[in-house]
Amino acid sequence: MREIAKKPINVKSQMPWVEKYRPKSMKEMALPSAKVEGHRVNLAEELTDFIRSFFKEIKIINDENKKIRAYNRTVSEKEQKEEINLPPEKAAILLEGPPGIGKTSIVYALAHDLNMDVVETNASDTRTKDALEKKLKETVKSRGIMDFMTESKQKLILIDEVDGIYGTKDRGAVPTIVDLIGHTQFPIILCSNEYKQSLQNLYKNIRRFEVHPLPEEEVFKIAQNILKHENISSLTKEDLDLIIKKNMGDLRGVINDLQGISQGSVNMDTKELIMNLHRDNTEEIFTLIRDLFQKVNTLEEARSLTDKSDVDYNFLYKWVNENLPTFLNVNEDIANAYENLSLADEIFGRIRKNQEWSLLPYFYDLFAGGVALSRKRSPPTKGFRRVVFPRYITSGSYSVTGSEKSMIDKINLKYEISQIEAIQDFLPFLRILCTSSRKQLKTVSDWLDLDAKEKKSLK
């Protein structure tokens, strides 16, 4: 995405709107509210202060260190003093909040306002020790000749998607970043979606800003602005509300949805279009499911796929269940896959009920590898397949909807019947009866004194 943003202006029409409408300066953006240790703070002020004080302090420290170095040259090795470092809470801060609320944007806008360059690393980069060092440490430590010449352009280091550090690929990344914070010559801002136990060492010493999603009215204003800009009038206010509700404060999600809808097929029902849209974080699952069914050939590969994934396994195996028939179409393969998946489900249940955590490895291997590798005769399905959300969430206990409940109450005035009997026996009959003709529907609903909503549920 960011690659595209750097291209010249004339490709602007093809740019993702998220980049096109990314605010340039903090003045033009809707600032999300933030909290530090439970106290509400002004994010723009805090960030500007942080950068300013950083450069003030680092200058003092550098001068001190210069003196120390000069002193060290004059004395024997034993008497040498150690160079001093900036305390970590002054060198780096962490922005923590749900995706798409403007964490990255605010860093770029801040850099723009203070005339700085952003050096960014995110989850798309490999973040092993070596790679990180290569990319960052040069920037951070270099006090080369160029720095004096271009002193007006300072640098700001953005380590985005910190919580995306996982698995074996990013081994050593956390100590590297900790080390980096200790020796940096430039301010560092880390962004993260959620608190992760494994990153405790990192979080220990730095200030944590909890960034909150924008209020819905704010999102609504921005979305309306964009629609005006793009000359789109086909979306009603209700549609827009639906999109905003669905994204739960994720502004990026809203903008992506808007672009998706405006460029999608026109004849489709707008509502359906909105419901069919998917978000960045689910995109990861989509790819994962496709890879699992179409690319994985060995258990090893299946394992590394689930290992790497950030998706909660609670949900992942439901995704596998939902999409299994899309990718497998020989009955033998389906049955073999389900043999493994159903056993995985049983094991998972036992783990949850009896805390039999020793069974967990089987669970992983069965629902991922066990399913993907159950293809016996047929080759993997080729080409693009649509991955869908797990539609069917079973709660285990039965529940009645509001209109069903009120209808049963009304029926009970005339005909004594229990809820369960009503739902399993009487209501299905009423539905069949009422769909037969409008007249029937009218007489029945008049007799039971049903309101419009209840009437509709009978159709």
């Binding site: 028939p325 009955n331 159903s342 009645v400 005909y415």
Partner: protein, 348 residues
């Protein structure tokens, strides 16, 4: 009655014991009891939907006469408690510290069902000139171990309130309860009485129906009179003359037939469609996975299959039901069963 009731099963619901279709011996017994003004706790046993509750209610109504409304209550053991009722049960289980005794300040656990639904009724005194109150508990076997709570209730409050317990499975009733009750086996309605009833309704609704059609209707409805009347009403929408085609066409719409078509879909090896239908059944009828498995099992027994195939398929249903007990996502277990059926059908 001036208004006409648009739903026949309600329109033709019996209003006095004599109107009950068939089962004259039982009705005679109950009439005797009403004359004697006394009876022990009763236990009604019979298969689903044949009219146990209707009989019990009419009996209570005639027994209590004009004090019926004040002294009668019908509760469903399988109906989940509402949030309010559960909270009520919780708050009442706390014994105040101002009370004397070892349980002061502690929580006592009586089953919430008995606490909020049964006790308040049985503890209240009889109103009017009735010998005692009557409490009907439907689907009593669902209470399981909570039936124990009824033992003492039946003795302590027995003088004040008689109970009629209704169940489809006598094996689900614990021994101490069964021994405290007089057992009534409610049989399915016999064909002759059924025929009279249907002819009677047909006459009132001016329908034409043959004996042969009535016989099929009798078999299709499996002794459930309300279902037979439902079917009859649906058929009447297509014309006044009820014939076999009409009957079969409408019976397709009923749930048990949906389960049958689900089974047939799997035996044709069409997994995606079968899963679609299974989900529809679950969401429309609010069955639990276990209930769906039981319905499948019932249908399996009726299908013309080889001995080997039948036992193999039953084995698969049992396995799925077993796994669903521990599993977290019953949709997976249902899908798994359907997929195995589909595979099995290929080798049939």
């Amino acid at each position: 009655m001036t208004e006409t009731i648009p739903i026949w099963r309600i329109k033709y619901i019996p209003t006095i014991l004599e109107e009950i279709c068939g089962r004259q011996d039982i009705i005679k017994n109950l009439k005797e009891i009403i004359k004697k003004r006394n009876f022990p706790h009763l236990l009604f046993v019979g298969s689903e939907g044949i009219g146990k509750t209707t009989i019990a209610r009419l009996f209570a109504k005639e027994f209590l006469g004009r004090y019926f409304a004040a002294n009668y209550k019908l509760i469903y053991a399988d109906e989940p408690l509402t949030e309010e009722e559960r909270n009520l049960a919780k708050s009442e289980s706390y014994v105040s510290t101002s009370k004397i005794g070892s349980i002061a300040g502690k929580r006592i656990t009586t089953p919430a069902f008995i606490k909020v639904k049964v006790k308040p009724f049985v503890q209240l005194k009889v109103l009017g000139d009735a010998p005692f109150k009557i409490l009907i508990v439907k689907n009593f076997e669902v209470l399981g171990a909570n039936q124990q709570g009824f033992r003492r209730l039946m003795e302590i409050y027995g003088n004040n309130c008689r109970m009629i317990l209704i169940t489809t499975k006598v094996s689900g009733i614990i021994e101490p309860i069964a021994s405290r009750c007089q057992l009534f086996l409610i049989s399915q309605v016999d064909f002759q009485s059924f025929r009279e009833l249907i002819l009677n309704i047909s006459q009132k609704e001016s329908l034409q129906i043959d004996d042969s059609v009535i016989e099929v209707l009798y078999n299709l409805s499996e002794g459930k009179i309300s279902r037979a009347i439902d079917l009859l009403q649906l058929c009447s929408l297509n014309g006044k003359n009820i014939d076999l085609d009409n009957l079969f066409q409408n019976s397709q719409k009923f749930r048990i037939d949906i389960v049958r078509s689900l089974l047939l879909l799997t035996l044709n090896g069409d997994f995606p469609k079968a899963r679609e239908l299974a989900r529809k059944i679950i969401s429309n009828y609010k069955y639990s996975a276990s209930e769906l498995f039981k319905l499948l099992l019932e249908e399996l027994i009726k299908l013309p299959l080889s001995k080997y195939a039948r036992s193999k398929l039953i084995n698969l249903v049992a396995d799925a039901d077993f796994r669903a007990l521990d599993g977290m996502d019953s949709d997976i277990q249902i899908s798994a069963l359907l997929s195995k059926f589909c595979l099995f059908s290929e080798n049939l």
